[in-house]
Symmetry: D3
Subunit: 152 residues, 6 copies
């Protein structure tokens, strides 16, 4: 996994673990609730992750943006959809969000590189190539995501 993303994941999981180990019952409940609200319901989990991304961006929290970018990408959000989401962020939140969008674009690049990498690894064991392979990679990712959601 690319550098910044890996560092983000490592710090996040280490510290969340510490927070939850030392934290009281209320803190655990908040964390549980935090993951529940993004699961499928009347609105799809995919749409809710986009809502989470917008909330994170207008409140200008880089780590929260990174988290929801990853989750959205796993749910198959395309670059075109991301940039239309950035438009809403920019118009509602103003130019003060621009530095966060610059960093979001950088993070998104890392995410795509990572996806490519995983997709290529899968291809080596199979035989799809080029654009078709890319599409297959996305499809596989979305299927994995659907599966994880159903298992919860």
């Amino acid at each position: 996994m690319a550098g910044k993303l890996a560092a983000f994941h490592a710090f996040r999981s280490t510290m969340n673990e510490k927070l939850l180990r030392k934290g009281n019952l209320q803190l655990k409940r908040f964390f549980n609730l935090d993951s529940q609200v993004y699961s499928d319901g009347a609105l799809s989990s995919r749409t809710k992750e986009l809502l989470g991304l917008v909330a994170s961006a207008v409140l200008r929290c880089d780590d929260c943006i990174t988290y929801h970018l990853i989750r959205c990408a796993e749910a198959g959000v395309t670059d075109e959809e991301f940039f239309e989401t950035f438009n809403v962020i920019l118009i509602v939140g103003g130019s003060i969000t621009i530095p966060h969008l610059r960093r979001a674009v950088e993070t998104l690049e890392e995410i795509r590189t990572q996806e490519e990498h995983t997709s290529n690894q899968n291809q080596r064991s199979g035989e799809k190539t080029g654009k078709q392979g890319k599409k297959a990679g996305r499809k596989a990712r979305v299927q994995a995501w659907e599966k994880r959601r159903k298992e919860k």
Copy 2:
């Protein structure tokens, strides 16, 4: 139209008109851009209005919330979908958003009453009744919304 909604629309359109009449070119451009970003694209206008609602709520602006509630309802967002959106708002934005959600629920009630009223008026000239009529009312509303978007 119910009292608060009518007052909201009246003040909003009067003052927007004044803002734009007295405002310079840059202000006009911002207003144009503000309506462009919510139109259909890779993401549907409906999803973008939900994004706008979440952004408005976590930044805690009652007038913006009212505006996007109206737009979302016009796009056929259901109560169940609204309440799942409120969950995301609440978890990301915290209890500080609760007073805004209380007012949002009140506004939503007015919107639904208004919809009922319009739907009943349409029924008097036709003959559909009960739940079927309600559904027809929503369908008509969504069609009107689709039509308006295409005409833009």
Copy 3:
């Protein structure tokens, strides 16, 4: 109860009820959690209400400020303590909090008037007077608060 406080309580309880009746499980859980975090623990409920007041004020939410002012007063917070809390709010949050503090002072006056009124009613059925009666009123209020907390 004085006008604004009564109106606050009425709207708050009506709309909270609606929110919870229409709301989903996650919303109910958030509301439960919201009341749990202010109960006695390593820190007293009184201190936590002061923390809630400061959080509400620097995030500039009048309804939240009103709520925590009421709760703090029930827990026996004195005017002197309130004004030292206002100092922290003012220095951390800046002059942008001043209009909220003006309204907080107005709310606090209503709360004290209401306390006086209740205290006077109690005196009529007993025989304490003057400053002694006031003190007895506060003592009774704090005892009622302690009792409520233990019953939870």
Copy 4:
């Protein structure tokens, strides 16, 4: 003085007085400091009031906006200058500031009506008319402002 402005001034001065009477030394010092920072220095008081207006608007505090609109108008800020300031507010703070700008335009109208009124009263005792009188009114206002600043 027009309705809303008069109500603003009345509530503001009543409550500030209460805040300062009941408040401790630190609160008084903050209020003193709050008026000192807008006085003439390397930057003119006029520029500083514009800075205060922008800060108030992007932090979205209506009362603070009203206060700085009044002060700016007293310092002779023109409508054209106000609208260019609104542009900066809008671009940095985003569409979330629009409801505040709508109310700002309404307040500005009241301020101008009030200025007109004062100017007309002055004309009745003198003999200037029309555009010339208007200009004289502004000039007088700016002179009064300069005088007040020097007397501090």
Copy 5:
């Protein structure tokens, strides 16, 4: 002193010094006021530091959080008290505060390690051990704090 804490102190004191050396009278007065509001009064300095911590966290300023964590720890705030404070922060401010709480837990660890280190050094010159020594370390720290406050 541990790495991040030391770096925080170094940058903070160097830049505060520059700010004050180059700054004007108003800036100096603000800084004075900023330290005055946390001193003992009707509320203890300890409680006020907790108020400062909550304000810093819901406004999401890492450096301010670090500063108040240090001050609270010096005033003898326990981990259990810190985590109940984190609950209030989390519920009022929402999940957007989580990345700040992760960093706060990391900072708190450094603070505790540093305390342990100091406590061990003191023990070497005396003869207390184990849990008793820890308690003595805390007691000494709180006494030092009380002393500093009285000398002001």
Copy 6:
């Protein structure tokens, strides 16, 4: 160019380029508008950059502060003027802005060092010295700025 400033410029221009290359029409329009609102009009570009600085600082965005500090310095804003602007930021935005002001002072130092460096280079090819040279440097910078604005 000094380290941090150079890094800021490099990242900013690389990512802005990517944002605009991948971004849609609305994003481009927002960026265009963002540069238009700071150009000369009824208010000078210099004053508008100060407005942008204050907006950035009370909304607490370090990158935005850095950007406007650079622009203000190019427009000839003096240290005395900067520190009076910091006063307004501090009083309106509160102590929560202090860490940003510490970083702003550090950035300002880098900017001045860079200016000195450029000024010295110019002197070597000419013959002005000492304070006179400094003034000439500033004058040249302001003239360059005026020229760029007119060419737009």
